[in-house]
């Protein structure tokens, strides 16, 4: 990994945007990369738009993903795309629930499944993702989320 990877996870408050970006940042951290993860708390909890910026690489400076420089935009709510599309770079990766089979997109594990899709486009080792899921989630949720992640990652 020789350059900084920029990812924005976005959706609505209460949808698990922050938990998803926690898993992503933790996976990058476990891989040994420099990481910064930044978001705005507070009012955003009350069902409003929420976005979390995750940057990782050899050395990360600014904590915020500059507009037009996100390598991937992960949307937990498809209808929030218009608020965050300007962050994505040309030919950047757009990850959204509509790319998942219905069974994965509608369940409680949807966000982890989105990360499974994302994982195919960024070069973090599988082991880092699994350890990150274990580190961030409660014990009772780990196995099911790992399974959802793996299922999405291995989609054709």
């Amino acid at each position: 990994m020789d350059k900084v990877v920029n990812i924005v996870v976005a959706g609505l408050g209460g949808q698990g945007v922050i938990t998803a970006s926690d898993i992503l940042a933790t996976a990058a951290f476990i891989s040994g990369a420099d990481v910064k993860k930044s978001e705005v708390h507070g009012m955003s909890q009350r069902g409003g738009s929420v976005a979390s910026d995750v940057r990782f690489g050899p050395r990360v400076l600014s904590p915020m993903v500059p507009p037009g420089e996100a390598d991937a935009l992960v949307l937990t709510a498809e209808d929030q795309e218009s608020a965050f599309a300007h962050l994505l770079r040309p030919r950047g990766l757009r990850i959204a629930p509509s790319l998942l089979p219905a069974a994965l997109a509608s369940g409680k594990m949807a966000n982890t499944a989105l990360l499974g899709l994302l994982s195919r486009g960024i070069g973090l080792p599988m082991d880092c993702w699994h350890r990150a899921i274990d580190q961030v989630l409660k014990p009772e949720h780990r196995a099911a989320n790992r399974a959802a992640f793996d299922a999405a990652r291995s989609l054709p």
Partner: protein, 537 residues
């Protein structure tokens, strides 16, 4: 070797405070500072929520007078509330260490104003340190403790939203100074600020500040990122990484010592570059001091005073462009949760067409559609004073429409003196205060407060009762309404209280929906005779 950790700036401060043996931490929740107290308590530190920031600082002062290391935490507007003790503890000094952490919110992600706390360091004549990321938040906090102990002076530790809430890699390798023993030494001339003692104390403070400046000019709290010489940038806080990324050829002078400003170091740096600019969020605090010292610096266009910076914005600033920021698409605004008890209150306000002097919390959302039923929001607790002022000047028919509305945590923070004012100077038409008691400080993430009777870790501690406070003050009519069972009676009850000429407090009680699960679990454990999390579970 210390291990790598992924921590927010707030968590890094808590870790440093814990490692160097801070004996007591006190704060009031406020975005983006809240997590410091929670993380410090989580590490096993002795921490408590205070009713407001003034009390938090006073509690920390008492600990520091005894030779302890103490910390008080708050958001920027909290420092306004705590300004009174701050200005005088600067002059008394402390025996141990006193670090006051204040977190600014440029761009107002979750605040009522955009004030710049750096002005307080200058006004109160206390040193101020500021980190640029989570690693520095850890390391620099230890420096703040050393500085406070060496000069026996309180230190302001400033952070902003993007440092508080950005997680980064932290290695806790910096040596933590061992905590000295806690011994109380009586020193009346130094601690009792009657004028005869305060006059020499002011001179002592200024002498300390001169010594700290000399130390700062020679010290490590200014760091040069030497690159090209065409452009030099002086920056603080998160603007440092922004500037390093925005202009790879610019040399950057990073200031961790914000006050007193190491002006000669900046002058030397300026002499090594062709052009000099300051990159700072908020007020042009550094720029003004450079200009006053006769250092040639490019003036920042006024538009950069507003909002937070990012890399493209810093690039435009350094190019001298004063064109407006590109418009950002608007996301979905936040709303009161479905089923939130506050909704019932705002429906009633709207139906009765009251003038609602409002306050700060989730319920501020009552000012937005679909309610648009809150008329004012100024500062914590202002609902009561503002409502009373309206009542006293409006004609009677209009005055009878005025209510004051505020939450339980806000009421304890700064509403109680408003109740005293209502009893002492009652308007001819009386007044109605509505306390939306959802049993938590919901806005900042469900923290406890004195009226919940629980501490930072949700453990049972002392409790004050809102209705007892109001009755004890002499309010004529105090009534608690259970919003779960009797919420439907609210419009009629409110109409009745507005029509009479008495002073009234209606306490609308129902736990915040987001706390119900936690509350049930806590109560079940406590009923089983065990307060330990995870023990009976």
């Amino acid at each position: 070797m210390a291990e790598r950790q992924l921590l927010s700036g707030d968590e890094a401060v808590a870790l440093a405070a814990h490692r160097c043996g801070v004996s007591l931490a006190s704060g009031y929740p406020g975005t983006p500072s809240t997590e410091i107290i929670e993380a410090f308590a989580g590490l096993g530190g002795r921490a408590g929520w205070a009713p407001n920031e003034k009390v938090a600082v006073e509690v920390a002062i008492g600990a520091a007078f005894c030779g302890a290391r103490a910390m008080a935490t708050m958001k920027h507007v909290g420092l306004n509330v705590a300004a009174d003790p701050l200005f005088t503890v600067a002059e008394t000094g402390v025996d141990g260490a006193l670090v006051i952490v204040t977190c600014d919110d440029p761009g107002m992600a979750s605040s009522q104003n955009e004030q710049d706390s750096r002005r307080y360091a200058i006004a109160a004549a206390v040193p101020m340190l500021e980190p640029t990321d989570a690693q520095e938040a850890h390391d620099l906090f230890l420096e703040a403790v050393r500085l406070s102990e060496r000069w026996k002076v309180p230190v302001l530790f400033r952070m902003t939203t993007r440092v508080c809430h950005t997680q980064g890699v932290v290695v806790a390798a910096a040596e933590a100074p061992p905590a000295p023993p806690i011994v109380y030494c009586r020193d009346i001339p130094a601690r009792v600020m009657i004028p005869a003692n305060a006059r020499p104390a002011h001179r002592r403070l200024r002498a300390k500040l001169a010594e700290i400046l000399a130390w700062g000019e020679a010290g490590t709290l200014v760091r040069e990122h030497r690159r090209g010489r065409r452009m030099g940038v002086v920056a603080n806080g998160v603007c440092v990484p922004h500037a390093l990324e925005a202009e790879p050829d610019a040399s950057v002078l990073q200031l961790n010592l914000i006050h007193p400003l190491p002006i000669e170091r900046i002058r030397s740096f300026a002499a090594t570059v062709d052009a000099l600019a300051v990159v700072e969020e908020g007020d042009p605090v550094i720029e003004e001091q450079l200009l006053a010292a006769g250092i040639r610096v490019r003036r920042r266009p006024e538009m950069y005073r507003f909002g937070e910076h990012d890399v493209p914005r810093v690039r435009r600033l350094l190019a001298g462009e004063a064109i407006p920021d590109p418009p950002r698409p608007r996301g979905k605004p936040p709303q009161l949760c479905n089923g939130c008890p506050h909704r019932t209150a705002y429906d009633a306000f709207k139906g009765l067409q009251v003038y609602a002097a409002g306050d700060i919390g989730c319920y501020s959302l009552g000012a937005l559609p679909p309610f648009e039923a809150m008329d004012t929001l100024v500062c914590m607790g202002a609902a009561i004073g503002v409502g009373l002022g309206m009542r006293r000047v409006l004609p009677d028919s209009e005055a009878r429409k005025v209510v004051s509305v505020l939450g339980d945590s806000t009421f304890v923070h700064s509403g109680i003196t408003g109740i005293v004012e209502m009893v002492y100077n009652p308007p001819p038409t009386g007044h109605v205060v509505v306390i939306l008691d959802n049993g938590t400080t919901a806005m900042t993430g469900m923290q406890e407060h004195p009226a919940t009777g629980r501490g930072v870790a949700h453990d049972l501690i002392g409790r004050v009762r809102l209705e007892d406070i109001c009755r004890g003050c002499g309010v004529q009519h105090v009534e608690v309404i259970d919003m779960h069972s009797a919420g439907a009676s609210l419009p009629a009850k409110l109409a009745e209280r507005l029509a009479c000429d008495q002073t009234s407090v209606l306490i609308l009680r129902r736990p915040c929906l987001l706390t119900v699960k936690r509350l049930r679990e806590l109560e079940a454990r406590e009923a089983a005779g065990c307060g330990q999390e995870g023990c009976c579970g």
